[in-house]
């Protein structure tokens, strides 16, 4: 599976991409929503996008809206990964079409759990 990591922070892209890699994902990265849309429009296929909210050029919420407007990308799972933690912001993102919402800071376990909820990572068997 391939995931698109969208964050203006190179540090956060590396952290998220690293955790995705540990879970078996290939990753591609973009520094803002517009750059991410450019990748999708160029034919880059991804099953998952991990999206920061506050970014220059095009923010995460605008990116979610743009993806949801294009039927060709309907199968892309969208997960916000952001510091925006107010309930109202979460509702806005989900209403715009995001499937899941992960608040920074997060642990690798919390990240995995969200992907499990989305059906993108299998639940580990408990011995």
């Amino acid at each position: 599976m391939r995931a698109l990591v969208i964050d203006d922070s190179r540090t956060m892209r590396r952290i998220v991409a690293g955790q995705l890699s540990n879970l078996g994902f290939e990753t591609v990265e973009a520094a803002d929503g517009r750059a991410a849309l450019d990748l999708l429009e160029a034919g880059t296929e991804v099953e998952l996008a991990c999206i920061d909210w506050n970014m220059p050029v095009m923010n995460g919420l605008e990116f979610v809206g743009a993806v949801r407007e294009n039927p060709a990308w309907r199968d892309v799972t969208l997960m916000m990964v952001t510091t925006e933690s107010e309930q109202g912001q979460i509702v806005r993102a989900l209403a715009a079409g995001a499937h899941e919402y992960l608040i920074k800071p997060f642990t690798p376990d919390a990240f995995r759990e969200k992907l499990q909820l989305l059906g993108l990572v299998e639940y580990e068997e408990i011995a």
């Binding site: 203006d8 922070s9 190179r10 540090t11 956060m12 590396r14 952290i15 690293g18 506050n54 970014m55 220059p56 952001t82 510091t83 925006e84 933690s85 107010e86 109202g88 912001q89 608040i103 920074k104 800071p105 997060f106 642990t107 919390a110």
Partner: protein, 164 residues
């Protein structure tokens, strides 16, 4: 620990109501344990006198609309190197670049600031982080809250400021 609570205004945050359970400290502890250390307990209140910072670096984000305030993190350059190394899980021999440091410290400020913003009742707008060796203008009378923190024996100062 050096904690000054000088005002309850600005940012719409009632810092007088923090009492003995300081949510700013809790946020800092959570950010460091989840993002940087991978385990709790390595960020603690700073006790005793603070050393004069050598080559300090500053990272801050501002909150607008829900009151206006600034969340500022200050640490010595050497501390930022180690903080960045931990944040990016870099080995002891890997070079930490200036870009890594600026981006890493800025992201820490961003995450702390975003969680501080969530304490404010109204929804505010968070700016993108800024990082500089120069301290941003912070008149003493606009200080809302300050925490001196000990991260692995190194001083990290987290402060909240009222903006005009």
């Amino acid at each position: 620990m050096t904690t000054d609570v000088t005002d309850a205004g600005g940012m719409g945050l009632d810092v007088d109501a923090l009492g003995n359970t300081d949510p700013i400290l809790s946020i800092a502890e959570e950010v460091f344990s989840a993002m940087i250390d991978g385990e709790p307990g390595l960020l603690n209140p700073w006790y005793g006198d603070r050393p004069d910072p050598v080559e300090p670096m500053h990272a801050w984000v501002d909150v607008h609309e829900a009151g206006s305030g600034r969340v500022l993190i200050e640490a010595e350059r050497g501390t930022v190197v180690e903080l960045t190394r931990a944040l990016l899980a870099m080995g002891p021999d890997e070079e930490v670049t200036e870009a890594d440091m600026v981006d890493g410290l800025g992201e820490v400020a961003n995450v702390v600031g975003g969680n501080v913003k969530a304490l404010v009742p109204e929804t505010g707008v968070l700016t993108l982080p800024q990082v500089s060796s120069e301290r941003p203008p912070t008149p003493a009378e606009d200080l809302l809250h300050e925490l001196a923190l000990d991260w692995r024996g190194r001083l990290v100062v987290l402060s909240l400021w009222r903006l005009p």
